[in-house]
């Protein structure tokens, strides 16, 4: 009320005022961009941020690449989204050897215990809903069996990306988030945009990686 008065109105404005442009409309060139360019750009940007991008043509090669990475890192415990991700990418076998406690055993336990388990995992494996080529970003929507902590607490984050979900610009993803099927704005799930490993320059400006979040980020991109 006080605010409206200060702005010279008797009552707060009821209707959303019109304006000539919304968002970044017209600021980017409208040229057509091909899939290959988008994937190549995403990989280049992610690598520039210190992440690792691995392109895989088939599910089989993605599986091979994943076991190679896991062998290299030799984790004791791996945490993974349980929303059917492993099945969808056909990597259940690959993961089975690494989960001493069994993946399913983790679900349903009380929150504190669950978080503690994820915190003890060396690697967190998640999928992603979108990616942004321009900024080397993966975009994760929270949901059932898609714990937010899986991409946050373990030292290494491995994200499985479908080539088709990569967009060129941040604005493209934001637009789609605004039109998620089955959602109105206020039911939007928590969205995390992740661009490379966690970083800080707080000590004498010296860049350090893995301050609180993961110290390494691998993106395995399935192009097919």
């Amino acid at each position: 009320m006080r605010i409206a008065t200060r702005l010279g109105r008797k009552q707060p404005l009821g209707e959303t005022p019109r304006r000539p442009v919304v968002g970044a409309a017209g600021l980017r060139s409208a040229r057509r961009i091909f899939r290959e360019e988008i994937i190549a750009r995403f990989c280049a940007e992610l690598e520039a941020l210190g992440g690792v991008a691995i392109r895989c043509e088939t599910t089989a090669s993605l599986r091979d690449q994943l076991s190679r990475v896991l062998q290299q890192l030799s984790p004791q415990h791996v945490a993974c989204w349980e929303d059917g991700l492993a099945e969808a990418f056909n990597v259940e076998q690959t993961l089975s050897g690494y989960q001493a406690d069994g993946r399913k055993a983790v679900s349903g336990t009380a929150r504190k215990t669950w978080l503690q388990r994820i915190a003890e995992a060396d690697i967190g494996i998640t999928g992603c809903d979108y990616a942004v080529a321009e900024t080397g970003t993966v975009v994760l929507l929270a949901g059932s069996q898609r714990g937010r902590a899986v991409s946050l607490l373990p030292s290494v984050h491995i994200v499985l990306v479908r080539g088709g979900c990569i967009r060129m610009h941040l604005g493209d993803v934001l637009h789609e988030l605004g039109h998620l099927p089955g959602h109105t704005g206020t039911t939007l799930p928590a969205v995390n945009f992740i661009s490379g490993p966690s970083r800080s320059s707080d000590i004498e400006n010296d860049l350090s990686i893995g301050v609180h979040g993961p110290a390494a980020l691998y993106a395995l991109i399935l192009e097919g």
Binding site: R2, T16, V22, L27, T137, L152, H169, L188, S195, E204
Partner: protein, 503 residues
């Protein structure tokens, strides 16, 4: 938390900062680096000026319709399941947070960086009530251990050396620590990990709040913002009432302007859009989300033609990095929560009173801040307007006011002007003239002449010499008199060169 230098006045704090060599080098190094990375990042985007202009339009539109958008945001945030509280001032906000903490029987609060919580001195308040508050941003953690306040809004511990940091960590319980960045970081990671998992409440700021969806948007690099908003059962967001943008589409513009201007990144490592608390079927995320919307002097700027635009600020810190004054003296010298050009304008506006009146004078009015600002806030105009407003309200020492009134009297009347000049000429002989400059070693003029060139008055004014000059020209002889101009302080002196020598 208090600044150790809080009791000193602006001049003393600045002088002390100038004496600290490391600080000066560090501040200049960082701000240089940020300046260059910002330049690269803005060039890469392309059409930077158009993006800036769009940013300005969005902020201007939102702020001038804040009544609507703030209401819309609150409604939608509530729809999303958040609890929204309005706080008129710092005390109000503190009370709200304390009530929530008491309800939760909280003993440990984990915080990520937030200037608003600094503004209301929230930590001190909670600690007085026996609640432990841990800053989890690496830089903030360091200065919390040191018992200091941030000196830069993006890099709070810009003034600390790695040796100092090692000592602080050792006192905190770290053993066998080297000054290696990796070792220091690893210690903080391990130490704060426990805090994240044990904290009852997580407190964050808010970079943007989206009206159409009731979402809060957080930009962070270290991941502590995500920790604090994900792991504890309760998440409290503190936001200034002007943080609103209308739509998700507008976030596109802000997300391109803010990180590029702040750190030269295309996007910060993490950008989180949080809409309401955890959904029922989720394994993590907070059960309760509280959003505290703070006024604390902000609404007073609404409708003010000169200062409303200060509410457009997106707190990127770019104006600090380009400011010649900030680069010399660093953040603590300002003695306020918000340093640099933005602080010099914002602080006296939010907190009226004598305490921060001199802040608008900590600027050279060069306009670099305006050039750098991603939403084109005319900070230098505001600084000048603030100075004017203070003079109108009677700030300034009595001597200063008298001098200016005298100035007005003397210059508005030709005869009085001539008389004044003759008097002044006599007076300057008392202060002492050195190499054509007044060199006051005592008295009221000393502060002025110590840092400025005050050209001495010629023994005869141009007016007085005009008649004889005409004669000189007529005779065609200029041997006895040369005309000399001196541009210092925009004054024009005309006279014989040899006159002004120190006798």
């Amino acid at each position: 938390m208090t600044t150790s230098s809080e009791s000193l006045d602006l001049q003393d704090r600045a002088r002390r900062a100038l004496e600290d060599d490391f600080l000066r080098t560090a501040v200049r190094f960082t701000t240089d680096r940020l300046k260059t990375t910002r330049k690269t990042a803005t060039e890469q985007l392309g059409r930077w000026e158009d993006w800036r202009e769009r940013g300005r339009q969005i902020r201007a539109h939102t702020v001038s319709h804040l009544d609507h958008y703030l209401g819309l945001f609150a409604t939608n945030a509530r729809k999303a399941g958040a609890r929204v509280h309005f706080a008129a001032d710092a005390a109000d906000a503190e009370r709200v947070v304390l009530d929530i903490a008491k309800q939760q029987a909280a003993i440990l609060v984990a915080k990520s960086k937030s200037m608003v919580t600094e503004e209301i001195h929230l930590n001190r308040h909670l600690e007085e009530h026996g609640i432990e508050v841990v800053e989890t941003d690496l830089g903030e953690y360091i200065i919390q251990l040191a018992g200091e306040a941030p000196s830069h809004i993006i890099i709070p511990a810009i003034h600390k050396t790695r040796e100092q940091i090692r000592e602080l960590f050792a006192a905190d319980g770290a053993e066998d620590l080297t000054t290696d960045t990796k070792a220091l970081t690893a210690y903080a990671r391990k130490r704060l990990r426990e805090t994240f998992l044990q904290a009852d409440i997580g407190i964050t700021g808010c970079n943007f709040a989206i009206a159409e969806s009731g979402s809060v948007v957080l930009f962070t690099n270290e991941g502590n913002g995500r920790m604090v908003s994900t792991l504890p059962k309760t998440h409290i967001v503190l936001m200034g009432m002007e943080r609103i943008i209308p739509t998700l589409a507008d976030l596109d513009v802000m997300a391109n302007l803010l990180p590029r201007s702040a750190t030269g990144q295309k996007l910060t490592t993490y950008m989180s859009i949080v809409t309401g608390p955890r959904k029922l079927e989720e394994q993590d995320g907070p059960d309760d989300l509280h959003i505290v919307i703070l006024d604390n002097g902000r609404s007073r700027q609404l409708g003010d033609p000169e200062f409303q635009e200060i509410l457009h600020c997106i707190r990127c810190g770019a104006c600090l990095n380009v400011c010649p004054v900030y680069r010399h003296i660093g953040g603590h010298s300002y003695g306020s929560v918000y340093p640099g050009p933005i602080g010099a304008v914002l602080t006296p506006l939010l907190q009226e009173g004598p305490e921060f009146e001199e802040l608008p004078y900590a600027s050279s009015l060069c306009g670099a801040c305006h050039e750098a600002c991603p939403v084109k806030i005319p900070l230098h105009d505001m600084l000048a307007a603030l100075r004017r407003r203070q003079v109108e309200r009677g700030r300034g020492t009595r001597g200063e006011r008298m001098a200016f009134r005298g100035f007005q009297m003397a210059f508005s009347n030709a005869r009085r002007y001539r008389g004044t000049l003759r008097m002044a000429r006599m007076a300057q002989a008392v202060f002492g003239i050195r190499e054509g400059r007044i060199d006051a070693q005592f008295g009221a003029l000393r502060g002025w002449t110590a840092t400025r060139a005050a050209p001495a008055l010629a023994d005869k004014s141009f007016r007085e010499r005009y008649a004889s000059l005409e004669q000189d020209v007529a005779i065609g002889s200029s041997a006895s008199g040369t005309v000399q101009t001196s541009g210092a302080d925009g004054q024009l002196t005309v006279g014989k060169t040899e006159v002004n020598r120190d006798e």
